[in-house]
Subunit: 356 residues, 2 copies
């Protein structure tokens, strides 16, 4: 059993420290703690459907996603989480991929396993992880595609990247945007590039469904592009039946629950303010701005691993040691924004350890 360097390593940590997984409060993975109503009913409907193979064409799943984001279902590629889409994409893009770092490590892993050349650009740590557009333009001949996560993991601040899209279009390069955390953003419509899918064939957007909808164990994600050649190539490599019947069935319901979606958005708007305000009163740390459901923190004089162990051993609180992100170091941690009670608990413990 290995700690594979992601968050959500609850089972690993429980075993290593002889704790019960149920007692652990997981701030290391970025999951909405609220769920849509009537989930049990929908899951039992999924159980009935699981006695047959899922539709190999996923016709209704694609239609449901298409309705949700207002895009032609033929432009949608459903996946076993966003992860399947990342790996499929890596099999079907040109040789040289630029990645904006620090970010989710599976982009680079997928690229390397498919023998792509990876060029790492760095987001500006001293300016809330902003994009250096001039540097990208300067080196535009050195890559074929560019991967960006927006809002970015691990810092969570959303960016307006329309200029980046224009630059990439002008030079006929593929822009890949992971918008997994976009639904947590209050002004989602303003920042999401979904509205440009029909206009720009050099745009590919991918999203995990089950972080915002609070069910990462369901495994559902998708890719979107209007580039028909790319879609065709991806389907050439796609394995059959990768999305299970429960995810397929739930797609009939989760996207229609506008109350749940709006309430989650409103909760996070309020709770982000509360958390950032409280964190900024704690000594010896810097909390970065965020528009999503997690917060990147730089510790002034303590190592991330030390704090992780302190919180875990005494309070069963599991945080994400963010030191293994490209261009971060041992002073960074990431914590999720969870329920208000749980958030109060981690704030109290951080106050105790770091001093007010």
């Amino acid at each position: 059993m290995k700690d594979l360097g992601h968050g959500a390593n609850v089972d690993f940590m429980a075993k290593a420290f002889n704790k019960n997984t149920k007692d652990i409060i997981d701030f290391s993975s970025n999951i909405n703690p609220k769920l849509i109503p009537n989930l049990e009913k929908y899951i039992l409907e999924g159980l009935n459907k699981s006695t047959s193979y899922p539709d190999i064409n996923y016709t209704s799943l694609k239609k449901n996603i298409g309705n949700y984001i207002n895009i032609n279902p033929e432009f949608i590629i459903p996946g076993n989480g966003a992860t399947e889409i990342i790996y499929l994409l890596m099999k079907n893009i040109k040789k040289r991929l630029a990645i904006l770092n620090p970010t989710f490590s599976e982009y680079e892993r997928g690229a390397r396993l498919n023998n792509l050349e990876v060029i790492n650009f760095m987001l500006n740590k001293d300016d809330e992880f902003s994009v250096n557009l001039d540097e990208i333009e300067e080196k535009i001949d050195e890559f074929d595609s560019l991967f960006i996560c927006n809002p970015n993991n691990p810092n969570g601040k959303v960016k307006n990247i329309e200029k980046l899209l224009e630059l990439m279009s002008k030079h006929n390069k593929l822009l890949i945007v992971d918008e997994t955390f976009m639904e947590f953003v209050y002004e989602e419509e303003k920042y999401s590039l979904i509205k440009y899918i029909n206009k720009y064939e050099n745009l590919f957007i991918l999203k995990a469904v089950t972080k915002f909808f609070g069910m990462p164990g369901l495994r559902l994600g998708y890719g979107v592009t209007s580039n028909k050649k790319l879609i065709e190539n991806i389907y050439k490599y796609k394995e059959p039946w990768t999305v299970n019947s429960f995810a397929d069935t739930l797609s009939n319901y989760i996207f229609n629950d506008k109350d749940y979606i709006n309430n989650s958005k409103a909760y996070y708007l309020k709770e982000r303010k509360y958390m950032l305000n409280a964190l900024r009163k704690i000594k010896r740390l810097k909390a970065y701005d965020t528009d999503t459901n997690f917060i990147l923190i730089k510790l002034e004089d303590k190592k991330s691993e030390e704090l992780k162990l302190q919180l875990f051993k005494k309070s069963n609180i599991l945080i994400r040691d963010a030191s293994n992100f490209v261009n971060l170091d041992e002073s960074y941690i990431r914590i999720a924004i969870k329920s208000h009670n749980e958030n109060q608990l981690i704030l109290k413990e951080l106050n105790r350890i770091m001093g007010e």
Copy 2:
């Protein structure tokens, strides 16, 4: 929407002929119609777990599978269906793969997508699809690995392939056996090569879990080998979190239900005899021997597609046109063995169409 050449294309056929999917009796996919008791309870437990990421190491899933087949959990690679295992394997074996045909088409598809050279051997149609061991030995220098499905899809007759294993070991070639349908075989222990996993490092066995357990929409399968280098290479390429929380949770229960397993085995033993006996009284067709939950049939003077349409249009019965299997032709169909009532229905319709 395309018919992708597999069975289980219920959604495709329903749409094409303007029928309701619920009215279709699917004899085209090979699924146990019986389910373990208390499934709803276990699935709701899975729902609770789905609000977290599945254990990235799948420690308890590997342990559950290991207990079931009496193999070291470290030799187990869990997958999103057997399909994930097939594709992972194709990334990690040597260049030249022999496949014994006719068989499941995803082996060859996976091989071609990973740029393997495929050498097709033919099973002997005139002798219940037996293996020509002499031919394999004669051409042993032309391939590095050999893929066989046992019992084979589409004919279903189990083979004793110990001599093949010995031959492959002698020449240091990898033998890959898909034992997805082995649990349907009455004398499973006699034919399954699982008992040789510890002894032979050149043996890789893969299995779908959810055909025998009647839940293909759950998506669960696994690979087994004692070849540590191969396991290590496969994990290097394996995508994270491919098995969903429902499958992970159900593994705590399904493998322990010995009554269900034995009752299913006994049901199929009886029902195979009934079906074969009844089919052999029908004119103008030949039913091949089977040890599993499906039957290959050769029509004497009717095309498979014509019979498929006749059964579908009038009786909502969907059969598998088996003409697209390598080395079969338009005279072959495959039908599942389903519940006794459903089996009576297809027999009645076949009698009507083909004449008694």
